[in-house]
Amino acid sequence: MDITNTIEAAGISLLFLVLVFFPMEKVFPARAEQKFFRKHWLLDLCFFLGQYLLWNGFVLWALSYVNFWLSGIIPHDFRNMIASESWWAQAIEVILLSDFLIYWAHRLQHRSAFLWRFHKVHHSAEHLDFLAAHREHPLDTIYTVGIINLPALILGFPLEAIAGFIAFRGIWAIYIHSNVRLPIGPLRMLIGAPELHHWHHDVKRDAGNYANISPIMDIIFGTYTCPDHEPEAFGIKEKLPNNYVGQLLQPVLPTPKDRNVKLANVKLKM
């Protein structure tokens, strides 16, 4: 791995993101009082750098492994059958299936106590902006990335065919976290908007809007919400350390409650 290239890529990406989102957050702020260097911006910068410098390779490695494992178990006849379909049919299948899967997988992240341990790191951000979009536990990233790509991997669909769509979805995922309020009318039903995703980060958990980008799944399954104002506060009720290492470790370490349960078991056995 060429470390210089990696550092350069992280630098260029950060510069580009600032160029894209700084003017938007200044001209169309969701919270006008929020400063660019707001509380915990350094923590989110650590997550950004961590993703680019440490975890991307790990996530891709995990994805390659899933791909390798899948290619061994998916019948070739099935993939041949899919490959014989028209390009458009395949692209639509892949996009709809990933949207469907990631929607339910995301709901599960909020429902399952185990998955929430990791996903709560992302939700712990009390200030939303383009940088806060990067606050994500690496294992949470592997889960999301794995699920979102699963349909394409199973169907054997060449994702390069929809690279433009994937690139758009990637940057839009950052945009919907930005400190922007720019109502785009009915278009938000199709491509999503910060005003929707901000409600997903409401401190009162489970407000809705679980869909990845397009709120179509939220509309279908009744979790679409679009109040005309911003939530009062973002974040989570649970306590989480306010430093990078602490946020990475807390989900994998046993909670004091777990320890008590284990202790109780030991006592019972005795």
């Binding site: 070739h76 490959a83 994702l159 690139a167 758009f168």
Partner: protein
């Protein structure tokens, strides 16, 4: 900040749309190239770094047969992958080294050169299964 005027608003939105469109166009090329070489992809922002990225370490395993003599082998633990010479399509190989895929396999001919785990191998048609 005071309420921005209309001109500033339009200029900001134009810049935003222009940069997003530029990004998508740029990534379609670079990212598409990476995807076609690796057959794995992601829609996460973390994978959308500009220019080179950690993914380049994976990309190094995907090179034309001519240049493999000096190219790095796969990273430890990364599933074996191969490239059909001249086609630059990634293939996944089974443990026994048999290459299999859906479409591209049909284009393989006896004597073609492929790379498996950084090692140059010549296709023996008897080994190919579809």
């Amino acid at each position: 900040m005071k309420t921005p005027n209309l001109f500033l608003k339009i200029a900001t939105i134009s810049l935003f749309v222009f940069l997003i469109a530029g990004f998508v166009a740029y990534r379609s090329g670079v990212f598409g190239e990476f995807l076609s070489a690796n057959t794995i992809a992601t829609a996460r922002p973390s994978m959308m770094s500009l220019g080179s990225s950690p993914s380049d370490s994976l990309k190094q395993t995907v090179k034309k047969a001519d240049s493999t003599a000096t190219s790095k082998p796969n990273l430890p633990g990364i599933p074996e992958s191969g490239v059909i010479h001249g086609m630059e399509r990634n293939m996944t190989s089974s443990k026994s080294g048999v290459v299999f895929s859906t479409k591209d396999i049909e284009a393989l001919k006896k004597g073609d050169t492929i790379i498996i785990s950084g090692k140059k191998q010549v296709v023996d048609s008897a080994k190919i299964r579809n």
